[in-house]
Subunit: 600 residues, 2 copies
Amino acid sequence: MYRTNTCGELRLAYVGQTVTLAGWVQRSRDLGGMTFIDLRDRYGITQLAFNMETNAPLCEQARKLGREYVIQVTGKVIERSSKNTKIPTGEIEIEVSELNILNEAQTPPFTIEDQSDGGDDLRMRYRYLDIRRNPVRRNLELRHRMAMLVRNYLSAEQFLEIETPMLIKSTPEGARDFVVPSRMNPGEFYALPQSPQQYKQLLMVAGMDRYFQIVRCFRDEDLRADRQPEFTQIDCEMSFVEQEDVLQMFEGLVKHLFKEVKGIDFNDASAYSKFKIHNSQFGNQFPRMTWHDAMRLYGSDKPDVRFGMQFVEVNDVVKGHGFGLFDSAELVVGINAEGCAEYTRKQLDALTDFVKRPQVGAGGMVYIKYNADGTFKSSVDKFYTPEVLKTIADKFNAKPGDLMLLLCGPAMKTRVQLCALRLEVASQLGLRNPDVYAPLWVVDFPLLEWDDETQRYYAMHHPFTAPKSEDEPLLDDQSRWGDIRANAYDMVINGVEVGGGSIRIHDRILQNKMFHTLGFTDESAAAQFGFLMDAFTYGAPPHAGLAFGFDRLCSLFGGADSIRDFIAFPKNNSGRDVMSGSPAPIAQEQLDELQICLKK
Amino acid sequence: MYRTNTCGELRLAYVGQTVTLAGWVQRSRDLGGMTFIDLRDRYGITQLAFNMETNAPLCEQARKLGREYVIQVTGKVIERSSKNTKIPTGEIEIEVSELNILNEAQTPPFTIEDQSDGGDDLRMRYRYLDIRRNPVRRNLELRHRMAMLVRNYLSAEQFLEIETPMLIKSTPEGARDFVVPSRMNPGEFYALPQSPQQYKQLLMVAGMDRYFQIVRCFRDEDLRADRQPEFTQIDCEMSFVEQEDVLQMFEGLVKHLFKEVKGIDFNDASAYSKFKIHNSQFGNQFPRMTWHDAMRLYGSDKPDVRFGMQFVEVNDVVKGHGFGLFDSAELVVGINAEGCAEYTRKQLDALTDFVKRPQVGAGGMVYIKYNADGTFKSSVDKFYTPEVLKTIADKFNAKPGDLMLLLCGPAMKTRVQLCALRLEVASQLGLRNPDVYAPLWVVDFPLLEWDDETQRYYAMHHPFTAPKSEDEPLLDDQSRWGDIRANAYDMVINGVEVGGGSIRIHDRILQNKMFHTLGFTDESAAAQFGFLMDAFTYGAPPHAGLAFGFDRLCSLFGGADSIRDFIAFPKNNSGRDVMSGSPAPIAQEQLDELQICLKK
């Protein structure tokens, strides 16, 4: 071992001991008679002292050490004269008697500091240097810790971690697969799993009862910001359970993580007291909301309920006053930005510009200021009398000093637009504090989703999700397919979908019906899912599951927006690893062996 | 929840309680007045009793249940009149009052019993039924438990589990990569990792200090028996360590597994007492053997040291007696099969046939029987007098009643042949008991291995393995390359290599020299390993690592030979999953999107 202790370990109690440390030169300060070096490793920083008077050659050597040199030193632990209370080792330093350069280092292309001067591209290119920085290192430590907590929790709950194959069969349904040509079976391909969905269901048929896996999944999608072609799921499945059992189990897991990682006890009802959405009905449980309510009140299936600002629909009061836009709109809906009546023209214009951006797509925004003096000022004053504006304000439960913002148009589209506005206003008001956590279950998702482009229904979750038994008869009436609710649920925290799942169909007849609904022929269903359908004929238990996005969960607990900061070696938005230079062309021999060729 | 208890839970203490169970019908016995059903789940079996007298309709219904039906029953726990001491629930049964068929089942294609009537192919095709069998289920439970033990042990030792990418860059060195065409970067490919070797070294450069990962790896090799295209490694790396630190750390891990899983305490010296290889020098540590000794004494770099039967070289006594084969051979070497002097002609002929098989490849075998009466009988009596045979016997430390078996030929080839014979004889003598565990470190592997076919040296371990510092100067003398020893080590248990690793080169100059030795140009090394070489210029710490084959480790602890039994969904020897039918052709659209085509 090159060291007796780590750089984060020594305290006053060690004073007088001779120790050997090894690590990286964080910084060096030459004060003439003394040279101080901060030696860094994963565990912390220890100050090294070199004295020109007592050991000039060693001190000279120390002065020549560059940043990020890897060194080994031996010396005595002494008490510092000027202590640093900011770091745990700040009361001691090492009076170095031996110095050994283990490896030299070029000057790094950016500073290895909490706030680096390196831009995103440079830091990704030298990711191995970026990871040396405390924030990134702490993110990876958090990720490790969360994985351990998850595994130990689920293992104690009798879940078995079972590894499912990475080289599987390609299934066109869903997102695009990455495929892997088989050399031994020319012309044939494996696919990388988008999730272990079918295998975990097979494990339930196999009687494994409770399965989990922290598992890599792959999706060949055009990457939006903060999507990765490979990502990690906490994938879970249970037998002989109903929806309530699943929600309880995984709410328990997430509560455990909050307790251990953030010190927040969501088994204590008071932990919820600050969230408007929560009421006594939920006690010490995560609140629950139907998908319909989430869409109606927040315009999103993953509402951020750290703050209120629920949607208020005002069709009944705004229509019939001669304002054509409102009169002709399917829906007029708004939010109340409390205490924002003082917003300036400029601020309001900025919000209008925000909703008119193509990403949001609204035609415009109507505001109604409820001034502190009780008067109203709105962008539609000429259509509405103060009395009508007061009626509208009452619908919003607005008080003097508040600002109402309204959008109008087709119902679903307008809700989604208003959702964007709500989040933007909340951000401006500082209501989206990353240190505040508001978990929520969204339940009763629609089973099917209509796609205008292909003119057919798609499974909103996936084709194995069970409809609510009371809605099952609607499968026989195509005009009602959009109304069928699924036994599907998402866990949402701070407006982020961290996990989701469903009760699965375990009955072959119902599963066949579902495939037909989704436009599969018997043949195409059999070709893609035949082995799962077969398995269901040999005694499939009722089962259900859930998967968490682990990268996302880590970033949420780490208080950061980007999942890339929680992945050791992420890829950029073109799916490229700029550090290793992958993907890359391969040798012609490799192509020949695989019996494939490139299209010119 | 469909149940109040599991089928493995109920005991006499529950008598009188009303419970609900769910599970599979294992078997059904109709005794006229009574019908008994064994209900099975992952946790055990509970007997259900249906009484024709008290509830005829229910009993009739129970009689119709087929094997593997999934049912839910409610009833009272009662004490059995005739107890079954073989199962933990054998003192009670359930007097069923309600029966609910959750799912019907076709008759399974093989029996769901410990000893199934299903052949290998059938069981693989219906793997989800095979997993219902106790032996397979127990294997997967063992695997889960071992993974948890490994993770908790390493985590407590400050190792961080860090996920490395699955979509990486292809490197032609080593085995063949599986590749993944990139749609977003047409003409370019990712590779699936053969191991996270480069990434774990980068994590050391990144200062992560102690890394591990239980990780899927991929090799596109022509599959020999019991190789899988995807397999799992316990992959580890440490900074600021020397070989001794690595051996101690991972010996500690394996001792922990032995203690927890098998109840064997290898921290107690007596645990080693039955192994001939062990002597007091090693105390309570795994014995160590150099690669040269392993080859000389066992003809293998992974000797099975559960038993002795070390090789004895007899060139000095057998030569010059007119037996041409021995006289002209580079090496005459044998083993002593203790107590086997009574082997019949037939048995000896069978052994000769064994060594002559193409897989072994020897020209023949010489035997010398040291009869119980002190006389000798050998296949070379006409060349050797009893006195010479006695001298040979003495070299073998043979006693009357023993049987010596000798092979001759080129040294290395003959040793490998004798290794096969030694294992065969030991198997016949029952010396390879799967319940006995003899761990061993093999150290000082050669750094380089000559390949006749391509007429160049290859890295025996991999190109990042460091030579022993005392052998480093030999890199400058090509004639001595074969003599260079590496800081490389394997852990061997019962003749199986369960893990291996090395001290890595952390110095760029030495690494460059190594690449040149392996025939890389500067350009080809930079093209393949450039980013790692670059990283080494920014302050790489001394580091070392090791990887265990997790599938193999599980099979060893599970007392089985095949790793397939410890993989939930294995592939066959053609790399095919016969259950899902992968690999398979993919749609032309998929090929088009990837801009690749198939060779006709």
